[in-house]
């Protein structure tokens, strides 16, 4: 019966997918995809998408498209826009491949890139300034700090996702603020852009407390024109929120968030230990599967569905093996996919929705084999990347990026992009890539030189200009199968002017994440394929992205973590010491010099006499009265 249902569902979906009329008619839809990850983590991907035809948009008829954003786009001549707010780091070792193949995430902080219509670079810069300042106000983020030093024009890394009639007059500008702290004030405007404003539907689950307590979270806004083969072009806005929640942490009640030690008898213990007793407890495995419910994790149940949404798209999906039982609220229809690793739920419009995922029963054979068999094993990413600083001291340093290709048989070709602040002056000649065979990195067998030299295929480098422009470095590289490549380069730290240090200067300076765009081996150029909504899903739910989708030449995108670069920082009480010191020196020197210049020097015998003799003489003079002081200086 179940199989039949899913088969039916699949065929229904494919019907939707291939129906051309649906492309323009389904103007809004939203979907939440839940995916339990190893180590009691849970990935929740929220996706909201609305379309408006280009003609309507140009007339100012915004229906599902947010007016505030639309007017900004019109004013700034923006044809395609991507805005990212990121926090935390994606733990690829445990969690596997990134959601959306990394296409809907940014590095820590805020990232913005857009294609602007302009005839000249100057005009593009002007429009970019308008755009950043307007968005800054709209999203309560310091986007207006994306100035010339933080703006780059990537050459290889980004390609337009939308369908553009002319590409010649489009300018791509990319800006990043790595130190921007993303918080609830950014979430509120984000939710306001939605047609249902977070009042009903899956958006009701988005609570600032939970979202920003997540181990990793990313908010994305993508706007692009999509032109189906037949039919009118539409402007599509896609809002995405992905977050990885720690189930144990999220389950803590809001009133008592402090992780106090549980009472001794509640502590899960490994009773097999010989020393186990009432006061000695070796803790049982941390990664044991936990039971959870939607309302526990998000703090409240989901309130119905948004009435504007496309009813054909199921609002909630979860990726768990079919063998696991999932309990849902009354009136909810469950549809399992054919692959056996995911199921979706159709929810009545005006009923609260809750979902309980119980701990796999002891009798379940699948759950007892390995602790992680109760979840769909995460897909291995195409590449692991880790970037860190080398060296120490305040004069120079180095950057080392370790790129590991886990695939045993396929090489990975990608573009590595860094946009560095100008005060990191990189030495391009020190850039070197060396390959270490074996995924572990422990075997230090260096590859043959010819292979090593073929790692870097193309370098685009735009040097920094002090206080005007940052460094832009794009490297097209190829990592052989099952190999680890160390990409290193050295840099020099420049000394900033006194006023150029930000507050809390001793913290250091954040260096934006490196963007790694893995090229699709099948489609070296831009391809008209679409990404999948959740990590490695590629199954039934991917079809829900229905019409258009984005054109991406990239198979996978990932970003490293940001870095903290400590520059030589003056002691900021120093200027005051200097002022005091200088004043003292000037006072002393000036006093002395002025004294010498102005004082009248008189030899001792020429000046008026002093001492007892004079006093006596004066007395005598008084007594004699009349014999006053005669010619002076003679005695």
């Amino acid at each position: 019966m179940r199989q039949f249902l899913s088969l039916f569902w699949l065929s229904f979906l494919s019907l939707v997918f291939f129906s051309p009329s649906a492309a323009s008619a389904a103007d809004y839809h939203e979907q939440l995809v839940l995916r339990p990850l190893p180590q009691s983590a849970l990935l929740a991907s929220f996706n909201f998408r609305s379309n408006t035809t280009v003609s309507e948009f140009e007339k100012g008829n915004f229906r599902f498209f947010p007016r505030s954003l639309g007017q900004i786009l019109q004013h700034a001549g923006t044809r395609e826009l991507h805005l990212r707010f990121g926090l935390g780091r994606w733990d690829a070792e445990s969690w596997g491949a990134r959601p959306w193949d990394g296409a809907r995430e940014g590095g820590t902080g805020v990232e913005l890139w857009a294609w602007l219509e302009a005839d000249t670079d100057e005009e593009a810069d002007r429009k970019w300034l308008t755009l950043t300042n307007a968005l800054s106000g709209l999203f309560c983020a310091s986007l207006n700090f994306i100035d010339g030093t933080r703006t780059t024009r990537p050459v290889m890394s980004f390609q337009p996702e939308g369908d553009h009639a002319t590409v010649s007059n489009l300018h791509l500008l990319y800006g990043v603020l790595p130190h921007e702290v993303v918080c609830t004030e950014n979430l509120t405007p984000f939710l306001k852009l939605l047609p249902c404003k977070g009042k009903v539907g899956i958006a009701t689950l988005l609570d600032g407390h939970k979202l920003f307590d997540a181990s990793w979270q990313s908010m994305a806004i993508d706007i692009r024109p999509v032109c189906p083969a037949d039919g009118e072009c539409v402007l599509q806005i896609e809002q995405t929120i992905d977050m990885v929640l720690d189930i144990e942490r999220s389950k803590r009640p809001r009133g008592n968030p402090i992780p106090r030690p549980p009472p001794g008898h509640e502590l899960p213990c490994d009773t097999s230990k010989p020393y186990h007793s009432h006061d000695t407890c070796f803790p049982a495995d941390h990664t044991a599967n936990q039971d959870w419910s939607l309302s526990q994790i998000f703090g409240k149940p989901m309130k119905g569905t948004c009435p504007l949404t496309d009813p054909t798209v199921p609002p909630v999906c979860i990726h768990v093996p079919d063998t696991r039982s999932v309990f849902v609220s009354e009136g909810v229809r469950e549809n399992k996919s054919a692959s056996g690793a995911s199921r979706c739920f159709e929810i009545p419009p005006s009923a609260d929705f809750d979902m309980v995922l119980p701990r796999p029963s002891e009798s379940d054979p699948a759950a007892n084999q390995t602790p992680d068999s109760a979840i769909v094993p995460p897909e291995t990413p195409l590449l692991y990347a880790e970037r860190s600083f080398t060296g120490h001291g305040q004069e120079r340093g180095g950057v080392q990026t370790i790129l590991r290709n886990p695939s045993p048989d396929a090489a990975v070709e990608f573009i590595y992009m860094e946009s560095l602040p100008w005060f990191m002056r990189i030495y391009l000649h020190t850039m070197e890539a060396r390959v270490v065979a074996g995924a572990g990195g422990s075997a230090h067998a260096r590859a043959r030189p010819d292979e090593s030299s073929s790692l870097i295929q193309q370098v685009f480098y735009r040097p920094a200009v002090d206080r005007a422009r940052g460094t832009q470095l794009e490297v097209r590289m190829r990592v052989p199968p099952a190999a680890t490549v160390f990409l290193t380069y050295d840099f020099e730290k420049s000394i900033l002017r006194y006023t150029e240090y930000p507050p809390d200067a001793n913290r250091g300076f954040d260096v934006a994440a490196a963007v790694i765009t893995i090229l699709d081996p099948d489609h070296p150029g831009p391809r008209s394929d679409q990404g999948s909504p959740a990590a490695g899903a590629g199954t039934s739910s991917s079809s829900s992205r229905g019409s258009g989708g984005g054109r991406r030449f990239a198979a996978y995108t990932l970003r490293t973590t940001t870095l903290l670069c400590s520059l030589p920082t003056p002691d900021f009480s120093m200027p005051y010491n200097v002022i005091i010191f200088t004043s003292t020196a000037i006072a002393l020197a000036f006093g002395g010099v002025f004294n010498i210049l102005v004082r009248r020097f008189v030899a001792a015998d020429e000046g008026p006499e002093a001492g007892l003799a004079v006093l006596v003489g004066r007395l005598k003079g008084r007594l004699l009265r009349g014999a006053g002081q005669a010619v002076k200086g003679k005695s």
């Binding site: 009472p263 001794g264 973590t561 903290l564 010498i596 020429e606 005695s635």
Partner: protein, 882 residues
């Protein structure tokens, strides 16, 4: 006698001079010119010359005016010009000096009348002649005489061609010259002027001048100053020779400075100044030590305080307790089961536990070779990624398997594991937390920190496969004690005497002492009554540790990388359990987690004398600097001395000249040999440095004995060789000592800013080198032997031996520690001992020993040959007597 002091006459100068003439002088000049004009223009109607000349015959009561008018009237144009040129400057000077009113009164009154009456009396009644006189030349001579008398007081004589003439007589010479040049002039009239001038100059006519009070009153009443241009007021009088301000006469300042430098030069030549430096050096040392002893007093030390407000130590509740203790007990069972196992087995067992906490783990191998031993092992570390962090910052928790005393860290390791498990539950961490489990307390942490900063040698230390961001702080747990504890001992000394930020120590003190009620001790002062002696002892222990520069715990390796770190050691018998220790660490981590910036606010250079008292660098540095300065002072003194001839020659030359002080005889310095000797000794110092750092431990003791024996003989051998080969002079010995002391002073004063204690200790131990000089007493051999014994007693080998005896460890152990420090941690104390102190000691020993022998040989052999600069005092004495 015009004395215009204008070196080069120019029109502009003259114009400006004329423009600045004071009022009375102007009036006189005007009157003279007017009378002359009248004489020329009105010659037909009124004979001015006949009217105003001083004719003795016509002088009566009605014609007394003549005694005043005669200086203003001249016989002809030439007379007028000559007189004007000579009188104007002197009158100008006089008026500036005494004021317009006084000058007016004097020149209208006595200074015209008196010469006139004198002349009339002499001419009419003595000589019986009647020649009338006129002209301002009488004033010229009068003023010249006043001037001459005054000059005479300052410079009584001037010398022309070996003959000295009295200055006062110069106007007489001028009189004679005038007489010869212009026979027409009245010598008697000039003489009369001169006479009055002399009398006036001697001050005998003082009473004729109007009293100053009256002048002031007149001035005040009539406001003469405001009304009359170029008026010289009573108050404006210069009392000086020239001009009013140096601005109008720049000659004054250079003269003065020249005088000052001259007196300084004079002082420099003073022989007493060369006797001063040894006392000055001694004073420096005494003040330096006394300064140090003053520091523990309340007035000189300061109370500690938290400078970085973000730390907020002790402001959070700590929840590490309850069932976590059950977990701790279980981990302790696990750890106890591992005691005695190999490093790899321990790590194999611990890694799954750490992994089970949900952390990422990695291992790192390291191998160090030092003193014939191999220090190898494997570090295990784990990163607790901050739940919401971005991998930019990290704090480190270190638990070494063994502490520095090689006790198993039985409680520390399980406590660290339990804490990490507890920390994992919190979501508030802004920084990653790294747990580092090292097999030992010195090499393991060093290898890990080096590799973390990519400063490691890949052949000995493996790279780290896993990294987090910048390290912001590190806490090491050293909890080997089995029983419950009473207090926490904070170990804070880093390698090479570098210290963590004082804020970190203060935070721990605040959290342990203030929040948890656990006592805090420093520098193994288990009891501390906060009195002077305990403070001093704490400080001195700290300085000794700092001076040795050896690592004192797992934290030491972090400090050179600007990662502030301390080791916490529970001690004593009390009722605090492991959980209390865990809460102290929890509190400290919460404080570090609050940090927005790297710790930078508080002090990095300090001496702690009590948990709540410290002195900062500004207060204590002078003490080491003074000690270092003593060497520099002595070096400079020796340099100066070496440039002067010995005393005998100086006294001889003094006898030659009679009047002027003798110029100090200087001799050329022979630099080549001294520089060569010092360079040789400095380069020799590499030998002990290399030997002691590379010898295996088994031969360290024999090596040390051999070195000590060689070292004992080395000064004698060197000095003998030197005498035989080059026969150095006393000057060269002085220069050898000067250079070696100069180097020592330079090294120590730079070192004082890096490692204060090491510089001070070395400075104090080397202090006798400043004063060890050649023997001057009769019994040279005894004296030399005594000096050599004294020097050896304070030489590096003897001090090492004493240190080994004091620490009850044996010389080999001390040297091994130094070698391990040198190879593993980069301790530079051996460098300072062998390459700074030892060469200075050797050079001084050579100087002390070489002197006597050389003096004899020099005095007998070649004392005569090379003249003044050669030979010491004794040698010279011999030359003199023979």
């Amino acid at each position: 006698m015009p004395t215009v002091n204008t070196p080069g006459l120019s029109l502009q100068r003259i114009y400006s001079y004329v423009n600045r003439l004071p009022l009375f002088t102007r009036l006189v000049v005007a009157a003279i010119v007017l009378f002359e004009a009248a004489a020329i223009l009105l010659g037909n109607w009124w004979d001015v010359r006949a009217w105003g000349a001083l004719a003795p015959d016509e002088l009566g009561f009605g014609s007394l005016y003549r005694t005043n008018t005669y200086p203003l009237i001249h016989t002809d144009m030439f007379h007028l010009i000559v007189n004007l040129v000579s009188v104007t400057p002197m009158l100008d000077m006089f008026e500036r000096e005494h004021g317009t009113l006084t000058t007016l009164a004097l020149f209208i009154g006595p200074l015209s009348t008196l010469p006139a009456l004198l002349y009339v009396g002499a001419e009419k009644y003595v000589l019986g002649l009647h020649s009338p006189v006129m002209g301002a030349s009488i004033w010229a001579f009068l003023l010249a005489a006043i001037e001459a008398v005054r000059m005479h007081r300052v410079h009584p004589y001037f010398v022309i061609a070996g003959q000295s003439f009295p200055v006062w007589a110069t106007p007489l010479a001028a009189l004679v010259v005038t007489m010869v040049l212009w026979p027409k002039t009245s010598a008697l009239g000039h003489l009369c002027g001169l006479a009055v001038g002399y009398i006036c100059g001697l001050g005998l006519l003082k009473y004729l001048a109007p009293p100053e009070k009256v002048l002031r009153w007149i001035e005040g009443r009539l406001n003469l100053l405001g009304r009359l241009p170029h008026y010289v007021s009573v108050d404006q009088k210069t009392h000086g020779r020239f001009g009013v301000l140096p601005m109008s006469n720049l000659g004054a300042t250079p003269v003065l400075i020249n005088a000052a430098t001259a007196s300084a030069l004079q002082l420099r030549r003073d022989p007493r100044i060369l006797k001063l430096p040894p006392y000055l050096s001694l004073l420096c040392i005494v003040v330096g030590v006394a300064w140090l002893l003053l520091l523990p007093l309340d007035q000189y030390s300061r109370r500690t305080y938290i400078s970085e407000n973000a730390l907020l130590p002790g402001q959070v509740h700590t929840y590490f307790s309850g069932s976590d203790q059950n977990v701790f007990r279980a981990y302790k069972h696990e750890v106890n089961a591992l005691v005695g196992k190999s490093n790899a087995e321990i790590n194999d067992k611990l890694e799954p536990i750490v992994k089970g906490l949900g952390l990422k783990t990695a291992r790192q191998n390291f191998t160090y070779h030092a003193a014939g031993h191999t220090y190898a092992g494997e570090n295990l570390y784990a990163i607790l990624q901050a739940p919401r962090g971005d991998a930019t910052e990290a704090i480190v928790l270190v638990a070494a398997w063994e502490n520095v005393k090689h006790e198993i860290n039985r409680n520390g390791v399980p406590l660290a594991l339990t804490l990490l498990r507890y920390f994992k539950r919190w979501s508030l961490w802004s920084k990653d937390i790294i747990l580092v489990l090292t097999p030992d307390s010195i090499a393991g942490p060093q290898a890990w920190v080096d590799a973390y900063h990519d400063a490691h040698d890949p052949s000995r230390v493996a790279s780290l496969p896993l990294k987090a961001g910048l390290l912001q702080g590190a806490i090491a747990i050293d909890y080997a004690q089995e029983s419950r504890f009473d207090s926490v001992h904070i170990v804070y000394d880093g390698v090479n005497g570098q210290l963590p930020n004082l804020d970190l120590i203060n935070s721990v003190v605040h959290i342990a002492g203030g929040q948890m009620g656990i006592g805090v001790a420093l520098q193994e002062m288990w009891r501390h009554d906060n009195g002077y002696s305990d403070r001093l002892r704490t400080m001195l222990r700290g300085m000794l540790k700092q001076g040795l520069g050896l690592p004192s715990g797992p934290h030491s390796s972090f400090i050179p990388y600007h990662v502030d770190a301390v080791t916490l050691q529970p001690f004593g018998e009390g009722w605090q359990d492991e959980m209390a220790m865990g809460r102290v660490i929890e509190g400290t981590f919460r404080s570090l987690n609050n940090l927005l910036e790297h710790l930078h606010q508080s002090f990095f250079f300090y001496l702690i004398m009590h948990r709540e008292r410290f002195v900062s660098i500004g207060t204590y540095l002078p003490s080491a600097m003074l000690v270092a300065a003593n060497f520099t002072i002595m070096a400079i003194a020796l340099w100066v001395k070496s440039g002067q001839a010995p005393e005998a020659a100086a006294s001889k030359s003094k006898a030659d000249t009679t009047t002027t002080p003798p110029p100090t005889p200087t001799v050329e310095r022979d630099l080549f040999l001294p520089l060569g000797v010092v360079a040789l000794i400095q380069s020799l110092s590499i030998v002990p440095l290399y030997l002691f750092n590379h010898a295996p431990e088994s031969i360290l003791t024999p090596l040390f004995i051999a070195f000590t024996l060689i070292n004992t003989a080395l000064p004698s051998v060197l000095s003998h060789l030197l005498t035989q080969t080059y026969a150095p002079t006393a000057q060269q010995y002085q220069l050898v000592k000067s250079f070696s002391l100069l180097l020592l002073g330079m090294f120590l004063s730079s070192l004082a800013t890096l490692n204060f204690s090491l510089a001070l200790l070395t400075g104090l131990l080397a202090a006798p080198l400043s004063f060890a000089g050649p023997c001057r007493s009769r019994r040279t051999t005894t004296c030399r032997a005594a000096a050599a014994v004294l020097l050896h007693a304070l030489g590096p080998p003897a001090v090492l031996l004493a240190a080994a005896a004091y620490s009850r460890a044996g010389v080999a152990a001390v040297l091994r520690e130094a070698a391990v420090g040198w190879h593993v941690c980069g301790t530079y104390s051996p460098l300072v001992v062998w390459c700074v102190w030892w060469p200075a000691w050797l050079a001084t020993s050579v100087v002390v020993l070489g002197k006597g022998e050389d003096g004899d040989g020099d005095g007998e052999g070649k004392g005569n040959g090379k003249g003044n600069g050669k030979g010491n005092g004794k040698g010279n004495g011999k030359v003199k007597t023979t």
